[in-house]
Each structure stands twice: as structure tokens, then as C-alpha cells.
Symmetry: C2
């Protein structure tokens, strides 16, 4: 293992231009969930391919029925060096409500939000463009200094992560031989705090479902028909309100099948992190845990399943008032899964429950939006321990192994379809406002993220 | 009482031009609830003033803090003829969702929807521009034939009926002496069916209320925060779902104070109308009464109070899916009142109930949107009987005295502030799709409505 100091120094020297490149990528409005931005998603993929080819990869835009994949290959320095598959996604979340942004979401900028603390602002800076660019810039520094890479690297960038990844499984299936590696590096997660890097060993699964209740064949006047005609908003709110009991548990039949209590030693390790409801919720203006009673916020967000209504609409929602009984109402509902909960069974349990609440003269429609089981990685693999040490060399505090509330379905797909485990390392912070107005990424996350990948790649090749 | 045949014939001859005038008025986009259409509301008022002055009235646009009133006066033929106050409203409901209209809402047209049955299509054709124009065209025919009117007439047209009439009470108070008459004629109601005219003797009151639940200070990622952070959509759906018990009764404290059972002889009279749930709900694609169990649809819509959610919104409602926990969620809720239910007490009961359901780290805001008690007119007045006979002369079947599900707060305001009773006669049909896409008014309603007012004015003057 060569001295990596020159590579780290090169990364430091490159930083201004690394930021320019990130800004170029953030300016591309690659919102995957909104068809209006389809061309911009393609542009982002093309931009990445050009960057990768310039770095010596063999890269290409790979069309799918949705937004394209980017695949790139680079040989390693030594024949026996490991082969890693790096994954990130170039698509971003929608930006509404636009009026809550302090600056236009696709005009990235550096802001000093407190003395000595600079952040990069803009949609996608943290989720996931800033994160994936840490890896590309690590590769760049390595190549510039050594004219070679320590590992053989395959890259897969997706453009549908924020919209349920409909093309991913077919693509992995069709290209399994090409994408197969020794393990995957996935950069779409967070640090424990700004000084403590984290490796995520547990990821909740996700079931997304849209429900549409239809009643009368038109909007009705609530004076003429009110009291006699079915109101689809009432039916919908009744269904949604019934999803939780008074203890915060989810009421769907057999919902908790496959959910196990977190082992005592894991809970004890989490307790040492010093997290509290006041601290965790205080950062967003709340203080009282809302889910299952009697559990810590780390348990609630890392190790317990949820049912959340992510959106609801029906009837008149403009200014003023309209005395209407709507013809239909709809909601987007998601379930976070843990343990061995089966996404298909959870979806079916929700549908059966909802159907049971719909009067015979009304109807219900369901539209699935993605489903993936939870992932739990072994706490004791050498991959994980190597990365843990490399990260601990870079950051003020040692790396910790944590759970994660979010869902990264790719990890399960890599397990099942490529037969490889994933190392989940990312440099986001919990206050990055991903999926919200005013998303940001710490400048330190970007800079030290680049340096972290240099160290990790070097350690993996040793 | 002179022979009115020449006046009726003049109305028949005028019909094509009467329709032209109605179309001119419908083309004005006077949506009172949306501030974007403020200028159009003013234009509608000016248009009416010009028409009334041309008819020999002394008419003027009367500014208010909201949309203007139109007031006009015309002397009667004889000194002892009654003095009537005619009321209608020139404002209309919003037109969303626009894509459900078969033709642009503000481009009125005549369509033959079945052989021999023509309708006038467009927003406001039935509610209330077509209705108020029946009276103006009756006046026109009368003036053209007799150069005089049978009664002294004052006209009041309002421009805020669809947005809670905020300026009405102050205007009535400030102009009570000018607007005082022997009684009011209000044309904003429906017929029993296309052959049977109706006089409405009962009107439900209305309380409109917007509720906004606020939780975190920003939209949250449902992966990071889900299970621990309060979801305002859950709080809102819980509040709304709890408004009704399993028998369809409303759960608010003391909600039914002042609600009396309908007298047996009134119910018996209603039973002779042959209304059924299948017929009433079948016209809009439904079949099962949704409100309080064990009551007829006429009772449910004429004599029982309701709680309806007229609109709800929160979180991500666009295409695709967004795993967000919203910062806030809101709903528009209205209560239809009967008997002596007190709008202020109902509003306060709703607010107290909602507040009791909001966690301590979240907040709730309320925005009132109008409130008026129910109105019940005596079934045996001479005014009502005179109108009943005049209407029965015009239409195929005798006029019936009915209840009404909708709210016309003006009737209570006239009672309280001018000390006069109202005669509620209108020519709408229950399938006119008022407040919905594809609003229409029967051509027969317009034509025979004009002729009906000629007969009523003549009978009142006799």
C-alpha cells in the first residue's frame, strides 16, 4: 500500500474545481418523479458519462423504459485487487413548495451558515449528487497522482431512485454478469453527526401505495346532497385514521409478522450514542415521539415499522371555500418495513383493510409505488471493519455502526440479483433537509467525503 | 288585475334576445371566492346596473370592502301595490377541475341533451345568473306591454354569495331603510322536478371552517423521521374521522341542541313525493344513504344537520410518489344546520374537539368561512299561497312546498335586519350540476321561469 498523502493533497488542491463540477450537475433539474423533467434526467446521465469517460472509464448511457442508467468500468492497478461496484443516483426529489426555498433550488451556492461552517445549497446537493461526486473526485485525485486506481471499479448510477426504481430490477437481471463485483459501495446515507462517520448496517424496507376512493360520478353541492351522499374524503380519512391504534401500533392484520425485538446488546450500543427525543425531534421543531409508545427514537426510526400518509388530496383546496362533496379523494401511503416483513403481504393487508371500509356504492383503486424488504447487514464482516478504520482515520471521531430509517432498495437487489453485500457509507447529516426546501450538503461532508473514499479504496486494495 | 296574456306572449317573443342577454352575463367570469377574478365581479355588477337602468330602474353599483352590491328601484303602477325586494347573486363558483368540463365554462351555449330537451350550459347558468335573469326578463316583458310594473320593486344583487357573503350584513345594516320592503322574493332555489315547481319553506344553515394542522417546521423525510415525528395528516384524518360515529351521528358536544324531529304530518307530506334513496342518489351514481341511519333522503337533506369535509390537502399530491412527512395539512369543513342550532356554538364545539386531538408539540389554526342559522318559514302564509297558485297556473303540475338542503343566509338576514319574510322560488333542477363541472340550466326553466315571475308579480299586485 503506497503512501496516500499525495492523493489526499491532490484532492485538497482540486476542491474548487470539484465544487464547480458538482454545481454543474446540481444545475440539471433531474426530478425523476415528474414526467416534465424527463429530458433533464437524460441530460444528467449524459453529463456523468462524459465525466467518467474523461476519467478513463468506459462509460455509457444505458436506456431503460424510464430514465437511463449510467454504467462505467475501470480496471484496477493489480490483478488481485478487489472489484467494487459503486452505486449512486443522479435523480432528485421534486422541489415544491418552491416559495419555501431561500434560493432557487437548481442554482447551487456556498453559504456560510455559521462562522467556519459552510454548506452547499440546492436540490440534490446531499441526496444524492453531492454524495456520488465524492467518489468521482476521489477517483480523480487517485488517477491524477498514480495514473491508476487501487481497485477495479464498476459504477452504476440510477435515475429513478426517488420514484421507486421501476427499471432497476430488470436492468440488474439483464446485466448481472457485467455488474457483478466482489461487493458494492453505496453512497446514499448519513453520518451519525458532523464529527462521527457512520456505516449503516440496517435499512428499513418500503411499500408505497396510492389509494383513490371514488363516490358520486361528479362533484356534488353539499347543500343538496350533504347528509345522504357518500363523501369520499370521509371514507378516506376513516381508512387512514384507523391505521394506528391508540398506542401507535399499526392495525393491519398480521402487520407485525417478521418483526423481531432489537437484541439487548444492540439497543445498549445505541444508548451510548446519547440520542434523545428532545434532540432528535428538536431539530425540526418537535419534541414528543409520535409512534409506538415506550420506545426510543432510535428504535422507532431504525428498528420499528411505520405507516405514514405522505400526501392527501380531495375536494376544493384553493383559496376561500367551496361547499362541495368531492367525487373522489386520494392519498399516498407508505410503510417502512423491518426484519422479515413481506412487502407483498403488507400491501395486500392494506388493500384488504381499505376495501373493507368502502361502501358498496363507492369504489377504491390502488396504485403501487415500489416495494422492498428491509435489509440487515452482518455487524462483523471484514469489509465493514476495514471501512470503519479508514473512516476513523479521516474524521474527528471513530466511525459507528448504526441502523437507518430510510429505504435503499438497491441493497436488497444487489444481495438477491448479484449475490453481493453492500457497504453503506455516506456523508449526509440529518439536518440536510433532503426531500424538503433548502436542501444542503456540508462543505466538510463533500471535502472529507472525497478524502474518505480515497482512504477506503486504498484500504480495500491493501 | 289586467289580462296578462299579452305580457306572457311578449316574454315568449323576447326569448331569443333574453338568452343573448343571459349569455352576455354568463361570459363574465365573476368567481367571487378567487381574488384573481375581482375585476370580473365588478364587471358583472356594472353590466347588471346598465341593464336595470335601461329597464327604467334607478340602479347603481354600490362598493363594499369585497365585491360590490347592485341596488335598483322602480316605482309600481298603483300606490297601494306591494313593495317587493328581489334578491339574486351574480357571483359564481370556481370551475376546477377544468378538464372535466365538456365545453369552456364561460362560453354559454344551448345544447339539446335529449329530443325536445334543451339546456343552457356554462358556469352560473343555474346558480344564479340564469335564475336572476328570469326576473329581469319578466320585468322587461311587463314594461314593454304596460309601460309600468304591477308592484313597486327594489332589487338587490350580491357578488359574494359563493364566498360567505362577508359584506352583506354590514350593507343591509347601513341601508336598511332603503332596502325595506313588504317582503322579499329570492330566486336561488330549485323545482321539485322538471314538471313541478316548488316553494322552499325550510333552509339549512351553514358553518364553514378551515382547519390547519402544523407539526414539524419543515417537510421531513419519512425514512429518517417516520415513526418518531408527528405527521399532521394523521392528526387531521383522526380529527375528521372522529366527527361521525358508526350510526352516522355527529359526535361534537351538544351538536344536536336545537335540532327537533320533523312533525309527522310534514314527513307524511314528503312521503307523497315518492322520493327514494335509489332515485335521489341514483342520479349521481350512488345508491346507499351515507348519513344518519334510519332516515329518508328527504329528511337527511332537508331536516337533519350534517358535517362534511369539502376539501383536504397535505403532503405530496403530484404525480409519482414522495416519501415525505408534511409540515402541515389542512381541510375545509362545513356543517349544515337545522332548527335552532347556533352557528357560533357549533363552530366553537368543532374547535374545542379538534384542539383536544392535537399533540402538545403541534399546533392548530382555524379560519372561519361564514356562518348562518337555519330558516323555517311558516307553511300557511298568504304570500306563499298566492305564489303557489300562480306557479301552478304555469307548470304541468301543482306547486309543492318543500324543505331545502342548501343554505341561503340572506333569508335569515332579511328576517333579522329588515324584518321581512322571503318567498323562495327558483327554477333549478337537482341535476343542474351547480358547483360542479358542466353546470346547466334547463331552457324550460329559463323560459317558464320568466313566465312564472310575470304571473307571481301579477298575483301579488291583485
Amino acid at each position: 500500500m503506497a503512501d496516500i498523502t499525495p492523493v489526499l493533497e491532490r484532492a485538497d488542491a482540486n476542491l474548487p474545481k470539484s465544487l464547480d463540477r458538482l454545481f454543474d450537475l446540481v444545475r440539471i433539474k433531474s426530478i425523476s418523479t415528474d414526467p416534465a423533467f424527463k429530458a433533464e434526467c437524460h441530460t444528467a446521465a449524459e453529463w456523468l458519462v462524459a465525466e467518467l469517460n474523461a476519467l478513463g472509464f468506459t462509460a455509457s448511457v444505458r436506456e431503460t423504459p424510464g430514465h437511463p442508467m449510467v454504467v462505467a468500468h475501470h480496471v484496477g492497478a493489480r490483478a488481485n485487487a478487489p472489484h467494487v461496484l459503486f452505486y449512486g443516483h443522479y435523480d432528485v426529489q421534486p422541489v415544491d413548495p418552491l416559495n419555501l426555498w431561500d434560493a432557487p433550488p437548481f442554482e447551487p451556492a456556498i453559504r456560510e451558515i455559521e462562522p467556519g461552517r459552510k454548506v452547499i445549497t440546492g436540490r440534490g446537493t446531499s441526496d444524492d449528487k453531492g454524495q456520488l461526486m465524492t467518489f468521482l473526485e476521489a477517483v480523480r485525485a487517485y488517477k491524477e497522482v498514480n495514473d491508476a486506481l487501487p481497485c477495479r471499479i464498476t459504477i452504476l448510477f440510477e435515475g429513478e431512485e426517488e420514484s421507486g426504481s421501476p427499471s432497476l430490477k430488470p436492468f440488474l437481471e439483464a446485466n448481472a454478469a457485467e455488474l457483478k463485483a466482489d461487493y458494492a459501495l453505496v453512497c446514499d446515507t448519513s453520518m451519525w453527526d458532523s464529527e462521527t462517520p457512520a456505516i449503516s448496517a440496517g435499512l428499513r424496507g418500503l411499500v408505497g401505495e396510492e389509494i383513490v376512493i371514488k363516490a358520486a360520478d361528479r362533484d356534488l353541492h353539499s347543500g343538496y346532497f350533504g347528509g345522504a351522499a357518500a363523501n369520499p374524503i370521509h371514507i378516506l380519512t376513516d381508512i387512514l385514521a384507523g391505521l394506528h391504534d391508540e398506542t401507535g401500533r399499526i392495525t393491519l392484520e398480521n402487520f407485525y409478522d417478521g418483526v423481531e425485538e432489537t437484541p439487548a446488546q444492540i439497543k445498549a450500543a445505541w444508548d451510548t450514542l446519547g440520542q434523545t427525543a428532545e434532540k432528535f425531534l428538536g431539530q425540526v421543531g418537535l419534541s414528543i415521539p409520535s409512534g409506538e409508545k415506550g420506545r426510543s427514537v432510535l428504535e422507532l426510526t431504525w428498528a420499528r415499522p411505520t405507516a405514514e400518509v405522505n400526501g392527501i388530496t380531495g375536494g376544493y383546496t384553493g383559496d376561500g371555500f367551496k361547499t362541495v362533496i368531492a367525487a373522489q379523494a386520494s392519498a399516498k401511503v407508505s410503510f417502512r418495513l423491518v426484519g422479515k416483513q413481506d412487502p407483498a403481504k403488507i400491501r395486500e393487508a392494506f388493500r384488504a383493510y381499505a376495501r373493507s371500509k368502502v361502501p358498496a356504492d363507492c369504489s377504491v383503486e390502488f396504485h403501487p409505488h415500489g416495494g422492498s424488504p428491509a435489509i440487515h447487514l452482518p455487524y462483523d464482516s471484514s469489509l465493514l471493519n476495514t471501512a470503519k478504520m479508514a473512516l476513523s482515520d479521516e474524521w474527528p471521531k471513530p466511525a459507528v455502526v448504526i441502523g437507518m430509517g430510510g429505504s435503499i432498495p438497491i441493497v436488497g437487489d444487489f444481495q438477491r440479483m448479484l449475490g453481493i453485500e453492500s457497504l453503506l457509507v455516506g456523508f449526509g447529516l440529518s439536518d440536510d433537509r433532503i426531500h424538503s426546501p433548502n436542501e444542503k450538503y456540508e462543505l466538510a461532508s463533500f471535502h472529507k467525503g472525497i478524502r474518505s473514499w480515497i482512504r477506503i479504496l486504498d484500504a480495500l486494495a491493501a
